[in-house]
Amino acid sequence: MQNDNFLIQQLKDKDELALSLLYDKYAGAIYSVIVKMVRDEGKAQNLLQDTFMTVWDKAESYDASKGRFYTWIFRIARNKTLNFLRKVEPLIQTDDFSVYDSKEEAISIDARYLELNGAITTLEQHHKEAIELVYFKGLTHKEAHQQMNVPLGTFKSYVRQALKQLRKAYTKSLSVLLLILNAL
Protein backbone atom coordinates (compact mmCIF):
# COMPACT_ATOMS: atom_id res chain seq x y z
CA MET A 1 0.00 0.00 0.00
CA GLN A 2 2.90 2.28 0.91
CA ASN A 3 4.33 1.41 -2.46
CA ASP A 4 1.02 2.29 -4.12
CA ASN A 5 0.85 5.69 -2.45
CA PHE A 6 4.22 6.59 -3.85
CA LEU A 7 3.30 5.36 -7.32
CA ILE A 8 -0.02 7.20 -7.22
CA GLN A 9 1.75 10.42 -6.30
CA GLN A 10 4.13 9.84 -9.19
CA LEU A 11 1.16 9.14 -11.45
CA LYS A 12 -0.42 12.45 -10.43
CA ASP A 13 2.88 14.05 -11.41
CA LYS A 14 2.45 12.48 -14.88
CA ASP A 15 5.14 9.82 -14.50
CA GLU A 16 4.73 7.21 -17.25
CA LEU A 17 6.68 4.61 -15.29
CA ALA A 18 4.25 4.93 -12.38
CA LEU A 19 1.33 4.39 -14.76
CA SER A 20 3.10 1.39 -16.23
CA LEU A 21 3.66 -0.21 -12.80
CA LEU A 22 0.10 0.48 -11.61
CA TYR A 23 -1.16 -0.93 -14.88
CA ASP A 24 0.86 -4.08 -14.34
CA LYS A 25 -0.66 -4.44 -10.91
CA TYR A 26 -4.32 -3.77 -11.68
CA ALA A 27 -4.96 -4.15 -15.41
CA GLY A 28 -5.51 -7.92 -15.16
CA ALA A 29 -8.23 -7.60 -12.52
CA ILE A 30 -9.90 -4.72 -14.39
CA TYR A 31 -9.64 -6.51 -17.72
CA SER A 32 -11.32 -9.54 -16.19
CA VAL A 33 -14.27 -7.42 -15.05
CA ILE A 34 -14.61 -5.64 -18.38
CA VAL A 35 -14.36 -8.77 -20.51
CA LYS A 36 -16.99 -10.54 -18.39
CA MET A 37 -19.31 -7.55 -18.79
CA VAL A 38 -18.82 -6.91 -22.48
CA ARG A 39 -18.10 -10.51 -23.58
CA ASP A 40 -15.99 -9.40 -26.48
CA GLU A 41 -12.21 -9.43 -26.23
CA GLY A 42 -11.57 -6.67 -28.80
CA LYS A 43 -14.09 -4.30 -27.25
CA ALA A 44 -12.87 -5.19 -23.77
CA GLN A 45 -9.32 -4.32 -24.78
CA ASN A 46 -10.41 -0.94 -26.13
CA LEU A 47 -12.34 -0.26 -22.95
CA LEU A 48 -9.37 -1.31 -20.82
CA GLN A 49 -7.10 1.08 -22.68
CA ASP A 50 -9.71 3.80 -22.45
CA THR A 51 -10.03 3.19 -18.70
CA PHE A 52 -6.31 3.58 -18.07
CA MET A 53 -6.22 6.64 -20.30
CA THR A 54 -8.81 8.17 -17.97
CA VAL A 55 -6.76 7.01 -14.97
CA TRP A 56 -3.82 8.91 -16.48
CA ASP A 57 -5.83 12.02 -17.33
CA LYS A 58 -7.86 12.20 -14.11
CA ALA A 59 -5.27 10.89 -11.62
CA GLU A 60 -5.34 14.27 -9.94
CA SER A 61 -8.97 13.75 -8.91
CA TYR A 62 -8.30 10.47 -7.08
CA ASP A 63 -8.76 11.02 -3.33
CA ALA A 64 -7.11 8.29 -1.25
CA SER A 65 -9.13 9.22 1.82
CA LYS A 66 -12.32 8.11 0.06
CA GLY A 67 -11.20 4.68 -0.94
CA ARG A 68 -8.63 2.38 -2.46
CA PHE A 69 -7.03 3.08 -5.81
CA TYR A 70 -8.30 -0.21 -7.16
CA THR A 71 -11.89 0.73 -6.24
CA TRP A 72 -11.46 4.02 -8.09
CA ILE A 73 -10.26 2.31 -11.27
CA PHE A 74 -12.95 -0.37 -10.93
CA ARG A 75 -15.68 2.29 -10.90
CA ILE A 76 -14.19 4.04 -13.95
CA ALA A 77 -14.04 0.75 -15.85
CA ARG A 78 -17.55 -0.26 -14.82
CA ASN A 79 -19.06 3.09 -15.84
CA LYS A 80 -17.25 3.12 -19.15
CA THR A 81 -18.34 -0.41 -19.96
CA LEU A 82 -21.98 0.19 -18.99
CA ASN A 83 -22.06 3.38 -21.04
CA PHE A 84 -20.58 1.51 -23.96
CA LEU A 85 -23.14 -1.29 -23.68
CA ARG A 86 -26.04 1.16 -23.41
CA LYS A 87 -24.81 3.12 -26.41
CA VAL A 88 -24.03 0.32 -28.86
CA GLU A 89 -26.63 -2.18 -27.88
CA PRO A 90 -29.63 -0.34 -26.54
CA LEU A 91 -32.05 -2.89 -27.99
CA ILE A 92 -30.44 -5.77 -26.21
CA GLN A 93 -31.60 -4.48 -22.84
CA THR A 94 -34.79 -6.36 -22.17
CA ASP A 95 -37.49 -6.03 -19.60
CA ASP A 96 -35.74 -8.32 -17.18
CA PHE A 97 -32.82 -5.84 -17.10
CA SER A 98 -30.51 -8.43 -18.49
CA VAL A 99 -28.07 -6.77 -20.79
CA TYR A 100 -26.74 -9.99 -22.18
CA ASP A 101 -29.09 -12.97 -22.11
CA SER A 102 -30.77 -12.40 -25.45
CA LYS A 103 -27.41 -12.10 -27.10
CA GLU A 104 -25.69 -14.90 -25.26
CA GLU A 105 -25.55 -17.28 -28.20
CA ALA A 106 -24.32 -14.71 -30.68
CA ILE A 107 -21.19 -13.87 -28.75
CA SER A 108 -18.13 -15.94 -29.20
CA ILE A 109 -15.56 -15.63 -26.47
CA ASP A 110 -13.01 -17.89 -24.91
CA ALA A 111 -15.04 -19.63 -22.20
CA ARG A 112 -12.27 -19.41 -19.60
CA TYR A 113 -12.58 -15.60 -19.64
CA LEU A 114 -16.03 -16.07 -18.14
CA GLU A 115 -14.94 -18.57 -15.52
CA LEU A 116 -14.38 -17.48 -11.96
CA ASN A 117 -11.32 -18.42 -9.97
CA GLY A 118 -10.13 -18.44 -6.40
CA ALA A 119 -12.15 -18.23 -3.24
CA ILE A 120 -15.40 -17.31 -4.97
CA THR A 121 -15.55 -20.77 -6.51
CA THR A 122 -15.85 -22.28 -3.04
CA LEU A 123 -19.02 -20.34 -2.25
CA GLU A 124 -22.52 -21.71 -2.41
CA GLN A 125 -24.08 -21.25 -5.84
CA HIS A 126 -26.49 -18.42 -4.93
CA HIS A 127 -23.78 -16.48 -3.07
CA LYS A 128 -21.43 -16.92 -5.95
CA GLU A 129 -24.06 -15.80 -8.45
CA ALA A 130 -24.97 -12.72 -6.41
CA ILE A 131 -21.36 -11.54 -6.36
CA GLU A 132 -20.89 -12.44 -10.00
CA LEU A 133 -23.89 -10.36 -11.08
CA VAL A 134 -22.96 -7.17 -9.22
CA TYR A 135 -19.20 -7.42 -9.43
CA PHE A 136 -18.43 -9.09 -12.72
CA LYS A 137 -21.52 -8.41 -14.78
CA GLY A 138 -22.12 -4.81 -13.85
CA LEU A 139 -25.73 -5.24 -12.69
CA THR A 140 -27.10 -3.06 -9.92
CA HIS A 141 -28.55 -4.69 -6.84
CA LYS A 142 -32.02 -3.87 -8.14
CA GLU A 143 -31.35 -5.49 -11.49
CA ALA A 144 -29.58 -8.46 -9.99
CA HIS A 145 -32.29 -9.48 -7.53
CA GLN A 146 -34.79 -9.59 -10.40
CA GLN A 147 -32.32 -11.62 -12.42
CA MET A 148 -32.04 -14.11 -9.56
CA ASN A 149 -35.75 -13.87 -8.97
CA VAL A 150 -35.43 -13.21 -5.22
CA PRO A 151 -36.56 -10.23 -3.14
CA LEU A 152 -34.12 -7.30 -2.95
CA GLY A 153 -33.61 -7.79 0.79
CA THR A 154 -32.76 -11.43 0.27
CA PHE A 155 -30.36 -10.54 -2.50
CA LYS A 156 -28.60 -8.02 -0.26
CA SER A 157 -28.14 -10.61 2.41
CA TYR A 158 -26.72 -12.97 -0.23
CA VAL A 159 -24.09 -10.37 -1.03
CA ARG A 160 -23.36 -9.78 2.62
CA GLN A 161 -23.06 -13.48 3.33
CA ALA A 162 -20.89 -14.02 0.28
CA LEU A 163 -18.52 -11.28 1.39
CA LYS A 164 -18.35 -12.78 4.84
CA GLN A 165 -17.39 -16.15 3.35
CA LEU A 166 -14.83 -14.57 1.11
CA ARG A 167 -13.27 -12.69 4.00
CA LYS A 168 -13.00 -15.91 5.93
CA ALA A 169 -11.25 -17.56 3.00
CA TYR A 170 -8.90 -14.63 2.49
CA THR A 171 -8.05 -14.40 6.19
CA LYS A 172 -7.37 -18.13 6.20
CA SER A 173 -5.06 -17.91 3.24
CA LEU A 174 -3.36 -14.93 4.83
CA SER A 175 -2.88 -16.96 8.05
CA VAL A 176 -1.42 -19.80 6.06
CA LEU A 177 0.88 -17.38 4.35
CA LEU A 178 1.93 -15.93 7.70
CA LEU A 179 2.50 -19.44 9.07
CA ILE A 180 4.71 -20.28 6.15
CA LEU A 181 6.59 -17.02 6.55
CA ASN A 182 7.04 -17.73 10.26
CA ALA A 183 8.21 -21.24 9.53
CA LEU A 184 10.81 -19.85 7.19
Binding site: E16, G28, Y70, G118, I131, H141
Partner: protein, 254 residues
Protein backbone atom coordinates in the same frame (compact mmCIF):
# COMPACT_ATOMS: atom_id res chain seq x y z
CA UNK B 1 -28.61 8.89 6.58
CA UNK B 2 -27.31 6.89 9.52
CA UNK B 3 -25.06 3.91 10.00
CA UNK B 4 -27.95 1.49 10.49
CA UNK B 5 -29.65 2.51 7.26
CA UNK B 6 -26.39 2.12 5.42
CA UNK B 7 -25.69 -1.33 6.81
CA UNK B 8 -29.28 -2.61 6.53
CA UNK B 9 -29.55 -1.56 2.92
CA UNK B 10 -26.16 -2.84 1.87
CA UNK B 11 -25.30 0.68 0.78
CA UNK B 12 -21.57 0.26 1.44
CA UNK B 13 -21.40 -2.46 -1.20
CA UNK B 14 -23.49 -0.45 -3.65
CA UNK B 15 -21.41 2.64 -2.98
CA UNK B 16 -18.23 0.70 -3.56
CA UNK B 17 -19.48 -0.82 -6.79
CA UNK B 18 -20.46 2.60 -8.13
CA UNK B 19 -24.21 1.96 -8.18
CA UNK B 20 -25.24 5.08 -6.25
CA UNK B 21 -25.94 8.52 -7.61
CA UNK B 22 -23.84 11.58 -6.74
CA UNK B 23 -26.12 12.72 -3.92
CA UNK B 24 -26.18 9.30 -2.26
CA UNK B 25 -22.43 9.00 -2.65
CA UNK B 26 -21.96 12.31 -0.89
CA UNK B 27 -24.16 11.22 2.02
CA UNK B 28 -22.23 7.96 2.41
CA UNK B 29 -18.92 9.79 2.25
CA UNK B 30 -20.04 12.21 4.97
CA UNK B 31 -20.92 9.35 7.31
CA UNK B 32 -17.70 7.47 6.50
CA UNK B 33 -15.61 10.55 7.23
CA UNK B 34 -16.78 10.62 10.85
CA UNK B 35 -17.60 7.01 11.66
CA UNK B 36 -14.30 5.17 11.97
CA UNK B 37 -16.00 1.85 12.71
CA UNK B 38 -18.05 2.03 9.54
CA UNK B 39 -14.97 3.22 7.64
CA UNK B 40 -13.07 0.15 8.89
CA UNK B 41 -15.91 -2.03 7.67
CA UNK B 42 -15.85 -0.30 4.31
CA UNK B 43 -12.06 -0.73 4.10
CA UNK B 44 -12.49 -4.46 4.73
CA UNK B 45 -15.09 -4.79 1.98
CA UNK B 46 -12.88 -2.84 -0.39
CA UNK B 47 -9.99 -5.14 0.38
CA UNK B 48 -12.19 -8.19 -0.17
CA UNK B 49 -13.42 -6.91 -3.50
CA UNK B 50 -9.87 -6.08 -4.54
CA UNK B 51 -8.62 -9.52 -3.61
CA UNK B 52 -11.55 -11.02 -5.48
CA UNK B 53 -10.63 -8.97 -8.51
CA UNK B 54 -6.95 -9.85 -8.37
CA UNK B 55 -7.75 -13.56 -7.92
CA UNK B 56 -9.74 -13.44 -11.11
CA UNK B 57 -7.29 -11.35 -13.08
CA UNK B 58 -6.92 -12.13 -16.77
CA UNK B 59 -3.74 -10.88 -18.32
CA UNK B 60 -4.59 -8.53 -21.19
CA UNK B 61 -2.50 -8.66 -24.39
CA UNK B 62 0.84 -6.90 -24.02
CA UNK B 63 0.03 -4.56 -26.92
CA UNK B 64 -2.59 -2.68 -24.89
CA UNK B 65 -0.12 -1.22 -22.45
CA UNK B 66 2.25 -0.38 -25.27
CA UNK B 67 -0.58 1.32 -27.15
CA UNK B 68 -1.64 3.17 -24.00
CA UNK B 69 1.83 4.59 -23.45
CA UNK B 70 2.06 5.49 -27.14
CA UNK B 71 -1.27 7.32 -27.01
CA UNK B 72 -0.23 9.23 -23.91
CA UNK B 73 3.02 10.31 -25.55
CA UNK B 74 1.21 11.31 -28.72
CA UNK B 75 -1.33 13.33 -26.75
CA UNK B 76 1.54 15.00 -24.90
CA UNK B 77 3.31 15.77 -28.18
CA UNK B 78 0.17 17.12 -29.80
CA UNK B 79 -0.39 19.35 -26.79
CA UNK B 80 3.22 20.55 -26.84
CA UNK B 81 3.11 21.06 -30.58
CA UNK B 82 -0.10 22.97 -30.35
CA UNK B 83 1.30 25.25 -27.68
CA UNK B 84 4.52 25.53 -29.69
CA UNK B 85 2.56 26.40 -32.79
CA UNK B 86 0.53 28.89 -30.80
CA UNK B 87 3.67 30.34 -29.31
CA UNK B 88 5.26 30.56 -32.76
CA UNK B 89 2.08 32.14 -34.11
CA UNK B 90 1.99 34.77 -31.38
CA UNK B 91 5.73 35.36 -31.60
CA UNK B 92 5.30 35.80 -35.35
CA UNK B 93 2.59 38.40 -34.83
CA UNK B 94 4.65 40.14 -32.16
CA UNK B 95 7.70 40.17 -34.46
CA UNK B 96 5.63 41.54 -37.34
CA UNK B 97 4.17 44.26 -35.15
CA UNK B 98 7.64 45.11 -33.84
CA UNK B 99 9.00 45.20 -37.40
CA UNK B 100 6.15 47.45 -38.52
CA UNK B 101 6.67 49.74 -35.54
CA UNK B 102 10.38 49.89 -36.30
CA UNK B 103 9.71 50.65 -39.96
CA UNK B 104 7.15 53.23 -38.88
CA UNK B 105 9.61 54.80 -36.46
CA UNK B 106 12.34 54.78 -39.07
CA UNK B 107 10.01 56.41 -41.59
CA UNK B 108 8.87 58.98 -39.07
CA UNK B 109 12.49 59.68 -38.09
CA UNK B 110 13.34 60.28 -41.74
CA UNK B 111 10.29 62.46 -42.19
CA UNK B 112 11.21 64.40 -39.08
CA UNK B 113 14.73 64.99 -40.38
CA UNK B 114 13.40 66.05 -43.75
CA UNK B 115 10.93 68.43 -42.13
CA UNK B 116 13.75 69.79 -39.93
CA UNK B 117 15.88 70.37 -43.03
CA UNK B 118 12.98 72.06 -44.80
CA UNK B 119 12.35 74.23 -41.76
CA UNK B 120 16.03 75.15 -41.68
CA UNK B 121 15.90 76.08 -45.38
CA UNK B 122 12.76 78.14 -44.86
CA UNK B 123 14.39 79.90 -41.90
CA UNK B 124 17.48 80.67 -43.98
CA UNK B 125 15.40 81.81 -46.93
CA UNK B 126 13.30 83.97 -44.68
CA UNK B 127 16.37 85.58 -43.15
CA UNK B 128 17.86 86.14 -46.59
CA UNK B 129 14.59 87.54 -47.88
CA UNK B 130 14.33 89.80 -44.84
CA UNK B 131 17.84 91.06 -45.39
CA UNK B 132 17.12 91.56 -49.06
CA UNK B 133 13.87 93.36 -48.36
CA UNK B 134 15.47 95.50 -45.66
CA UNK B 135 18.29 96.36 -48.04
CA UNK B 136 15.75 97.12 -50.77
CA UNK B 137 13.72 99.26 -48.43
CA UNK B 138 16.83 101.08 -47.22
CA UNK B 139 17.85 101.55 -50.80
CA UNK B 140 14.43 102.82 -51.85
CA UNK B 141 14.27 105.14 -48.87
CA UNK B 142 17.68 106.53 -49.81
CA UNK B 143 16.57 106.95 -53.42
CA UNK B 144 13.32 108.63 -52.53
CA UNK B 145 14.92 110.87 -49.96
CA UNK B 146 17.30 112.04 -52.67
CA UNK B 147 14.45 112.61 -55.11
CA UNK B 148 12.33 114.35 -52.49
CA UNK B 149 15.20 116.53 -51.22
CA UNK B 150 14.43 120.29 -51.69
CA UNK B 151 17.88 120.90 -53.20
CA UNK B 152 17.51 118.20 -55.79
CA UNK B 153 17.38 119.26 -59.40
CA UNK B 154 15.76 117.23 -62.14
CA UNK B 155 17.43 116.78 -65.54
CA UNK B 156 15.81 114.86 -68.36
CA UNK B 157 18.18 113.08 -70.76
CA UNK B 158 16.26 112.83 -74.02
CA UNK B 159 17.37 110.23 -76.53
CA UNK B 160 19.22 111.37 -79.67
CA UNK B 161 18.83 109.86 -83.17
CA UNK B 162 20.32 106.56 -81.89
CA UNK B 163 17.56 106.38 -79.27
CA UNK B 164 14.72 108.58 -80.48
CA UNK B 165 12.03 107.14 -78.13
CA UNK B 166 14.23 106.76 -75.06
CA UNK B 167 14.79 109.05 -72.13
CA UNK B 168 16.22 109.03 -68.64
CA UNK B 169 15.18 111.31 -65.82
CA UNK B 170 18.02 112.16 -63.46
CA UNK B 171 17.93 113.82 -60.04
CA UNK B 172 21.08 115.55 -58.98
CA UNK B 173 21.71 116.93 -55.51
CA UNK B 174 24.95 118.83 -55.06
CA UNK B 175 24.48 119.32 -51.34
CA UNK B 176 24.16 115.61 -50.54
CA UNK B 177 26.39 114.73 -53.52
CA UNK B 178 24.00 112.16 -54.91
CA UNK B 179 22.56 111.22 -58.31
CA UNK B 180 19.45 109.11 -58.85
CA UNK B 181 18.16 108.15 -62.26
CA UNK B 182 14.84 106.78 -63.52
CA UNK B 183 15.54 104.34 -66.39
CA UNK B 184 11.96 103.27 -67.05
CA UNK B 185 12.07 104.65 -70.58
CA UNK B 186 15.42 103.22 -71.62
CA UNK B 187 15.00 100.77 -74.52
CA UNK B 188 16.02 97.21 -73.66
CA UNK B 189 19.50 96.08 -74.69
CA UNK B 190 20.72 92.63 -75.61
CA UNK B 191 22.78 90.57 -73.18
CA UNK B 192 26.11 91.66 -74.70
CA UNK B 193 25.54 95.38 -74.02
CA UNK B 194 24.91 97.72 -71.11
CA UNK B 195 24.16 101.43 -70.79
CA UNK B 196 26.93 103.26 -68.94
CA UNK B 197 26.72 106.78 -67.48
CA UNK B 198 29.53 109.32 -67.64
CA UNK B 199 30.15 112.78 -66.15
CA UNK B 200 31.99 115.30 -68.27
CA UNK B 201 34.50 117.15 -66.10
CA UNK B 202 36.56 119.65 -67.99
CA UNK B 203 36.48 117.61 -71.18
CA UNK B 204 37.19 114.30 -69.43
CA UNK B 205 34.51 111.60 -69.21
CA UNK B 206 34.39 110.16 -65.67
CA UNK B 207 32.61 106.85 -65.08
CA UNK B 208 29.41 107.21 -63.04
CA UNK B 209 28.54 103.51 -63.27
CA UNK B 210 26.84 100.89 -65.37
CA UNK B 211 23.05 101.14 -65.44
CA UNK B 212 21.43 97.98 -64.06
CA UNK B 213 18.97 96.30 -66.39
CA UNK B 214 16.60 95.15 -63.62
CA UNK B 215 16.04 98.42 -61.78
CA UNK B 216 13.89 101.34 -62.76
CA UNK B 217 15.30 103.64 -60.12
CA UNK B 218 18.96 103.59 -59.13
CA UNK B 219 21.70 105.71 -57.58
CA UNK B 220 24.77 106.55 -59.63
CA UNK B 221 28.16 107.84 -58.56
CA UNK B 222 28.13 111.57 -57.94
CA UNK B 223 31.03 113.29 -59.62
CA UNK B 224 32.15 116.73 -58.46
CA UNK B 225 32.21 119.54 -61.00
CA UNK B 226 30.35 117.56 -63.64
CA UNK B 227 29.28 119.75 -66.53
CA UNK B 228 27.05 117.24 -68.27
CA UNK B 229 25.64 113.76 -67.87
CA UNK B 230 26.10 111.28 -70.75
CA UNK B 231 24.91 107.79 -71.49
CA UNK B 232 26.63 105.46 -73.96
CA UNK B 233 26.07 101.88 -75.02
CA UNK B 234 29.04 99.78 -74.00
CA UNK B 235 29.96 96.10 -74.01
CA UNK B 236 28.29 94.25 -71.12
CA UNK B 237 29.93 95.07 -67.79
CA UNK B 238 30.96 98.56 -68.83
CA UNK B 239 34.01 100.19 -70.37
CA UNK B 240 37.01 102.19 -69.15
CA UNK B 241 36.37 104.91 -71.69
CA UNK B 242 33.13 105.92 -73.33
CA UNK B 243 32.53 104.91 -76.93
CA UNK B 244 31.50 108.31 -78.22
CA UNK B 245 29.90 106.91 -81.36
CA UNK B 246 27.49 105.08 -79.09
CA UNK B 247 26.34 108.12 -77.13
CA UNK B 248 22.56 107.90 -76.92
CA UNK B 249 21.71 110.88 -74.73
CA UNK B 250 23.18 113.70 -72.71
CA UNK B 251 22.17 116.74 -70.72
CA UNK B 252 24.08 119.80 -69.47
CA UNK B 253 23.94 120.62 -65.81
CA UNK B 254 23.33 124.16 -64.63
Amino acid sequence: MDKKTILDNGLLEQYLLGELNAQECEQIEQVLAFDTELKAQFDAIEKDFETLGLENAIEPPKGIKYQLIQDIREAKDTKNNRSNTNLKYYLGIAASVAALLMLGNFWMYNELNEVKDQLQTVETEKTELNDKLNKQIDNDIALFSTIAHPDTEQYVLKGNTLMPDGKVVSYVNHSTKSVVINTERLPKLDAEHDYQMWADVEGEMINMGVIAKDQNLMAMNYIDHAESLNITIEPAGGNDHPTVSQLVTNVYLN
